[in-house]
C-alpha cells in the first residue's frame, strides 16, 4: 500500500541510488512486484537478507510484504554458526545474500545472490499483493544480543503502517531531497528509513561501510540533504573535520539516535555543521523505530537559553511522536510523581512488544516496558538515563551510569568514558569508571575522581578509575558494558586497575 501510493505519485523520480544512474520509483515498483513473484514461486515462508545496506534492501523489504511473508535482515558479521542458528528460527527462508558472505550461508535450499535476485526480480512476472492480515508479521528483526541470545522482534504490518502514517507526511519531501543511510540493514532505522523516506518521496543514497571521509565526500558529491547517524559515527565525523566546518551546503538535517550521544560530540557537531538542523530520534526495535524526537527548533532553543532547565534539553530525547503515550513507573510498578526517574513504559499502534517464540510482553492495558530508565521534565521532554539493567546499586543506592559519564566526558583530558558496577563485598557493587584519554593527554585517576566529586554527590564518585585505549562498541554504536565488566573482573585486570 505504502509503495503503491509512492509509485503512483512520483513515478519517474529517483528512489534509490545516485541521481545519475539510480532506480526510479516506477522501476522500484516493478522490481518489488517481480520480486514478490520470485518469493511466491520459491514457496518460501520468509525472506532473509545477509548483506550490506543498499538498493536491494528496500526492494526485498517491500517484495516480502507484497508476497505476504516476513522479512528478516540478519547481521552479516555473524559467524557461520550464528547465521545458521538464526536461519533455523525462520520459516523456510529464501536467503538473499551478498556474494561476499555466500560462504557463511553454506549449502542449503533457496539461496540467491543479491545481484541475481535484483535482475531476476526486474524480469519476473508481477505478483498481485497477497492477502495479509494487519497483525501478520512484516519484519522479524533480531536484537543485537548484547545481553544474551538474540531475541526476534516481530513488527506487524499494522505497527509499521502506523509508524509511517503517524510520523510522516506523504509527499512531504522536495524533489531535490536525498537522505544518506549508513546504518546496517539489520538495524530498525534501516527498516524505518526505507519506509518513511520512500513514502515522503525522498531519494535514498547508501554508504554501506561507514567511513567519516567517505561520508563527507558522498554528502557533497550527491547533494545529500539529510542523514541519519549513530553517535559513534558522528564522533568520527567531527574528529575527521577537526576545527574546519564541513563544506556541505546541501545538508539541512542530521538525525542521530541508536545510543546515547555524548554532549561534547553534539556540541562540536553543532559548530561544524552550522547550517544543518539536528534531530535526536529515540526509539527501540520493539517500537518500530522512533517514538520521541528532539527537533531542530528544540536544539536551537536549548542552545540559546540561559535557563538551565531549557539548556539541559540538548541532552534530552525530545517529546513523544503523535500516537505514543508515555508513562514513567517506579520500582513498585506505579507511575512516579513529576520529574522523578523510573522505567519508561510506552503505548501506541506502532509498538509491537511481541517476540518470536515468546509472545507479547505488553501489560493488560497495552503498555510496553522499554527497560530504559528515564525522567520527564515539566514540558514533557524525555531524559534517557540508560538501561534499567545498567543501574548500579551501591550500598542500597541506585546510581545511573549516565549521570557520572556526562560529567567525565566534560573532563578536558577525556575522549570517552563508561561507568559500570562491579561486584563488591562491602557495597554490593562498586562504581568503576573506564576512561579513554585523548591522544597525548595524561589522565590521573585521583584527579579524575576529584573532578567528579566536585560536581556530583559523594556517593557518585567512582571507587576505581581505570585507563583504557578504547571502549568496546557494537558496529551500531551500542556500548558493550558487559565486556567492560568482564574485562574488569578478570584476574589480569586487577594489576592494571588503580585501586583506591
Amino acid at each position: 500500500m505504502l509503495l503503491d501510493m509512492a509509485a503512483s505519485a512520483y513515478d519517474s523520480r529517483t528512489a534509490l541510488g545516485r541521481e545519475a544512474d539510480g532506480m526510479s520509483y516506477d522501476s522500484l515498483r516493478r522490481t518489488v512486484a517481480g520480486g514478490a513473484g520470485l518469493i511466491r514461486a520459491s514457496a518460501a515462508g520468509s525472506v532473509a537478507f545477509i548483506g550490506l545496506n543498499g538498493p536491494a534492501f528496500p526492494s526485498l523489504l517491500m517484495a516480502s510484504a507484497v508476497a505476504g511473508v516476513p522479512f528478516s535482515p540478519l547481521n552479516y558479521r555473524l559467524s557461520t554458526d550464528g547465521l545458521a542458528e538464526l536461519l533455523a528460527r525462520l520459516d523456510r527462508p529464501l536467503v538473499v545474500v551478498d556474494e561476499a558472505f555466500e560462504h557463511a550461508v553454506g549449502d542449503r535450499d533457496r539461496v540467491m545472490a543479491v545481484g541475481a535476485w535484483l535482475s531476476a526480480a526486474r524480469e519476473a512476472p508481477e505478483a498481485p499483493t497477497a492477502d495479509v492480515a494487519d497483525e501478520d508479521c512484516a519484519v522479524l528483526l533480531f536484537t543485537s544480543g548484547t545481553t544474551g541470545r538474540p531475541k526476534g522482534v516481530v513488527l506487524r504490518h499494522e505497527n509499521l503502517v502506523s509508524y509511517v502514517i503517524g510520523t510522516v507526511e506523504f509527499a512531504s519531501a522536495d524533489p531535490d531531497e536525498a537522505v544518506l543511510v549508513s546504518v546496517p540493514p539489520y538495524h530498525v532505522a534501516a527498516v524505518g528509513s526505507a519506509l518513511t523516506n520512500l513514502y515522503a518521496g525522498r531519494r535514498m543514497v547508501y554508504l554501506p561501510n561507514f567511513d567519516p571521509a567517505a561520508w563527507l565526500d558522498i554528502v557533497a558529491r550527491e547533494g545529500v540533504t539529510g542523514a541519519m547517524v549513530v553517535p559513534t559515527m558522528l564522533a568520527r565525523i567531527v574528529d575527521e573535520l577537526g576545527e574546519t566546518p564541513a563544506q556541505v551546503p546541501t545538508l539541512r538535517s542530521i538525525a542521530y539516535g541508536g545510543a546515547r550521544m555524548p554532549a561534547t560530540v553534539l556540541e562540536r557537531a553543532l559548530g561544524l555543521f552550522p547550517a544543518a538542523g539536528f534531530v535526536n530520534a529515540y526509539g527501540l526495535t520493539e517500537t518500530s523505530s522512533t517514538i520521541a524526537v528532539l527537533t531542530p527548533e528544540d536544539h536551537r532553543e536549548a542552545l540559546g537559553s540561559d535557563d538551565p532547565a531549557v539548556r539541559a534539553r540538548l541532552t534530552s530525547a525530545g517529546r513523544p511522536v503523535p500516537g505514543i503515550d508515555v508513562e514513567v513507573r517506579g520500582d513498585d510498578g506505579r507511575p512516579v510523581a513529576g520529574g522523578e526517574p523510573g522505567e519508561l513504559w510506552v503505548r501506541g499502534p506502532q509498538v509491537s512488544g511481541v517476540y518470536e517464540g515468546i509472545g507479547s510482553v505488553l501489560d493488560a492495558d497495552g503498555w510496553f516496558p522499554t527497560r530504559d530508565r528515564v525522567r520527564v521534565d515539566s514540558a514533557g521532554y524525555l531524559f534517557i538515563e540508560g538501561r534499567a539493567d545498567d543501574t548500579i546499586i551501591r550500598g542500597g543506592e541506585n546510581v545511573a551510569p549516565a549521570e557520572i559519564e556526562d560529567v567525565l566526558i566534560r573532563h578536558p583530558a577525556l575522549r570517552d568514558a563508561a561507568v559500570v558496577g562491579v561486584p563488591d563485598e562491602e557495597w554490593g557493587e562498586r562504581i568503576v569508571a573506564a576512561v579513554v584519554p585523548y591522544e597525548g593527554a595524561t589522565a590521573d585517576a585521583d584527579e579524575i575522581r576529584a573532578f567528579v566529586r566536585a560536581r556530583l554527590r559523594g556517593s557518585r564518585t567512582p571507587d576505581d578509575v581505570v585507563i583504557r585505549d578504547s571502549l568496546p562498541y557494537t558496529p551500531t554504536g551500542k556500548l558493550l558494558r558487559r565486556e567492560i565488566v568482564a574485562d574488569l573482573s578478570s584476574p589480569a585486570a586487577v594489576h592494571t586497575s588503580e585501586r583506591m
Binding site: S8, D134, I165, G226
Partner: protein
C-alpha cells in the same frame, strides 16, 4: 459502522480508498460520493452512482477530519467522491510534519 484504527475502506462509487488514523468512538456514518464506504475487501453494491453535490474529490496522501477534529482519515487512493461523516463533508487537515528521523 464502528471505525477501528488502521481499518481500510473503499468507496462504492469511485476509486477512493482510505485508512483510519484516528477513529471516533461509537457508530460512524462515513460516506464517499453520497454512499457508505465499505470494507476494502468488499465488492461495492451494484447500480450505485456518485450523488450530485458529492463530487468534491479527495487527494492522495492527505488527511481529512470532521468538524470536531476527532476523526482522522488518510487517503491511500484518491477518487472523485466527497468524504463525509453524517452528511457533513470532511475537511482537509493541515499537516504539522515532524522532522525526518531515520
Amino acid at each position: 459502522m464502528q471505525l477501528k484504527i488502521g481499518a481500510r475502506y473503499r468507496s462504492q462509487v469511485c476509486q477512493t480508498e482510505i485508512i483510519v488514523v484516528r477513529p471516533l468512538p461509537g457508530e460512524a456514518d462515513l460516506t464517499c460520493g453520497g454512499h457508505p464506504v465499505v470494507d476494502l475487501k468488499e465488492t461495492p453494491a451494484a447500480g450505485l452512482s456518485l450523488k450530485e453535490g458529492e463530487d468534491a474529490g479527495n487527494a492522495l496522501g492527505k488527511r481529512y477530519t470532521d468538524a470536531s477534529g476527532t476523526l482522522e482519515l488518510l487517503v491511500t487512493k484518491p477518487g472523485q467522491g466527497t468524504l463525509a461523516l453524517g452528511g457533513e463533508p470532511l475537511v482537509l487537515k493541515e499537516a504539522k510534519p515532524l522532522p525526518a528521523s531515520d
